[in-house]
């Protein structure tokens, strides 16, 4: 089966900056795919390369097995939901949604009918005659979605689609986007800097850093088996032990990561469980998160580790500034590749 989107050794350089650095990846048909990374990691440039707003300096981009590397945006079967929606202010909501049909010279009646259908799909039928400036942020988002879907593209690209929405709206839209994708069976590719969003929505996630693809895996694998220090820290902010600390704790100079919820914390006076990896430190801060509390512990060497505690009883005999012992099972330590000092 051919991939809906394929990157073959794609690079894009702006002056001295390698915005995208030799990226190769495949996105399957019907997949809900996330590109995750901090700002400047190259994820948005990748999206723009797929849309055709930018042309790679090196490599090829294939859509459904066809080379589209140099094609202009209007010759690609791909549509985009822009971060700030990019609605046309001089057109009504209906005209915005119908635009893709209008420029393809679809009959006027047909334009109106299908645009209304699309607006109903995103539950905005009642606002068809409004101007974009008269809508709320969430409504604009839906218009932008309807406009991008009207041409029934093979692939829908979403650039930070939920970034501008408040928390409650964002959670609603997450569910709605998932439903929409299942309903339409279109490949969705969305760019985000929010690891929670990527993990909860995507089938697979590509993690970018400095223009390079760090890891491409399912959310579960990404979280439980991060391949590099960057992924371990960026996705779920794991504790990372560098080469030196690893040697002290395990005897082997192999960097590893361990999740905060896998670390147990106890007063330094009590002996640690046998067989566990353990280290001593000082409790610096406790952040209350409701179901759990996050304890920040400074190790003897100065490194900061975080332990997530769900049973408040565990914290009863510890106060801020008190010496504590952290311990975890050797199985929960994930070895990392790459230089971590």
């Amino acid at each position: 089966m051919t991939a809906a989107i394929e990157f073959r050794d794609v690079s894009r350089v702006y002056g001295d900056v390698r915005a995208v650095d030799h990226v190769s990846l495949q996105i399957g048909s019907g997949e809900f795919f996330a590109m995750l990374g901090p700002s400047g990691s190259g994820k948005t440039t990748c999206l723009r390369l797929v849309a055709g707003f930018d042309i790679p300096d090196n490599g090829y981009i294939l859509l459904d097995g066809k080379d589209v590397t140099g094609l202009p945006p209007y010759e690609r079967d791909v549509n985009t939901v822009f971060q700030d929606y990019a609605l046309f202010p001089h057109m009504s909501v209906l005209e915005n949604v119908a635009y893709g049909l209008r420029v393809r010279k679809v009959a006027r009646v047909e334009q109106q009918r299908r645009a209304m259908e699309m607006l109903e799909l995103v539950k905005l039928g009642a606002l068809a005659q409004r101007r974009p400036s008269q809508l709320s942020g969430g409504q604009r988002q839906r218009v932008s979605l309807a406009r991008a879907l009207i041409n029934r593209p093979r692939v829908l690209l979403l650039d930070e689609p939920l970034g501008a929405l408040d928390l409650k709206l964002r959670e609603e839209m997450q569910i709605e986007l998932k439903n929409l994708q299942r309903q339409l069976a279109i490949t969705f590719v969305f760019v985000t800097h929010d690891q929670g969003e990527a993990l909860s929505m995507a089938d697979r996630v590509a993690v970018f850093n400095h223009g390079r693809l760090e890891q491409l895996d399912s959310p579960r694998t990404l979280y439980t088996r991060p391949a590099t220090e960057f992924v371990a820290r960026f996705v779920g902010s794991a504790n990372v032990a560098g080469r030196e600390l690893a040697r002290q704790l395990t005897g082997i100079a192999q960097p590893f990561a361990v999740r905060a919820e896998k670390i147990r914390i106890q007063p330094a006076s009590r002996p640690p469980a046998p067989g566990a990896i353990h280290c001593d430190g000082k409790l610096v801060d406790i952040q209350y998160h409701g179901a759990t509390s996050r304890c920040h512990v400074q190790l003897a060497g100065g490194e900061m580790f975080a332990a997530s505690v769900s049973h408040q009883a565990d914290l009863e005999h510890t106060a801020i500034g008190a010496p504590v012992t952290l311990h975890w099972s050797a199985d929960d330590a994930v070895p990392l590749v790459g230089d971590s000092g």
């Binding site: 990019a86 001089h90 893709g100």
Partner: protein, 268 residues
């Protein structure tokens, strides 16, 4: 609150100042209008010795006035048309792209308006002579097009720079090619800027005299007609009558443009 209510009203020295400013700007215009109706044909005597509509009748009978008016309107219309085409194309080319020499092009482009009109005039005259072209209607149009283009360019480029680039990307993303994107997205967005630039260009061309003197040959545009008329001692109020007519004619499009551009401003 009391202080708020008071701050909404200007203090009396401010109001007096504003009144003086308005009077300073507009009294000379009132004088022109007033002396279009005087019975005295040589001096600006005050109070008027008598009131008459005779000069309107006399102006209507003078074919040279209407020839000058037609010439000025024709030149202004064509110069504005060419300026809109050239200015818009230049603005589209320079608004987004970055290339070596872009600043230099911008500088050379605004030169006709930065230089004194007399320099532009002499330069054009020299060029016309060198090209062995007879000065006339088309040389005036060409001369006016130089500075009118700058006006249109400045208006349009400012608007284009304020326009988010992702509107163009969104349009192309949805399947519109360059021409469709221009027609459906860019043109509606810059329409009011074009209108304002065009109006200004028209007005500038309509009362331009310096560049016209060098490029006109024997043709008499309205400003040149006014200028020549000052040296004739008789029938002085006729110039005032023509000035009143010109005012009435130019006021209409100004009010129209004001009315047309208002809702567009409210949209954004």
């Amino acid at each position: 609150m009391r202080s708020d209510a008071r701050s909404n009203r200007a203090s009396w020295p401010t109001r007096l100042g504003a009144l003086f400013g308005l009077a300073f700007l507009n009294l000379p215009v009132l004088v022109i209008i007033l002396y279009a109706f005087t019975t005295d044909d040589r001096t600006y005597a005050f109070p008027l010795p008598g009131v008459t509509l005779h000069w309107f009748e006399a102006a209507l009978a003078r074919s040279d006035i209407w020839a000058a008016m037609r010439l000025s309107l024709g030149v202004a219309a064509l110069a504005t048309l060419f300026a809109i085409i050239l200015g818009t194309l230049t603005a589209l080319a320079l608004a987004r792209s970055r290339f070596w020499g872009r600043e230099a092009i911008t500088f050379v482009l605004i030169l006709p308006i930065a230089l004194p009109g007399i320099v532009t005039g002499i330069a054009l005259l020299a060029a016309i002579k060198a090209a062995h072209v007879d000065p006339g209607f088309w040389t005036i149009v060409a001369g006016h097009t130089t500075f009118c283009t700058v006006i249109v360019y400045n208006n349009v480029v400012a608007r284009l720079r304020r326009m988010p680039h992702n509107w163009i990307e969104a349009s192309m993303d949805l399947g519109a090619d360059g021409a469709q994107t221009f027609r459906y997205i860019v043109l509606p967005q810059m329409a009011t800027a074009l209108l304002a630039g065009g109006m200004l260009a028209f007005a500038l061309s309509f009362d331009e005299i310096i560049v016209t003197l060098f490029t006109a040959g024997h043709d008499e545009t309205l400003p040149i007609w006014f200028f020549n008329e000052l040296f004739r001692p008789r029938e002085r109020p006729i110039t005032n009558v023509v000035a009143v007519i010109v005012m009435a004619v130019t006021l209409l499009p100004i009010l129209l443009a004001y009315y047309l551009t208002r809702p567009a401003e409210e949209q954004t």
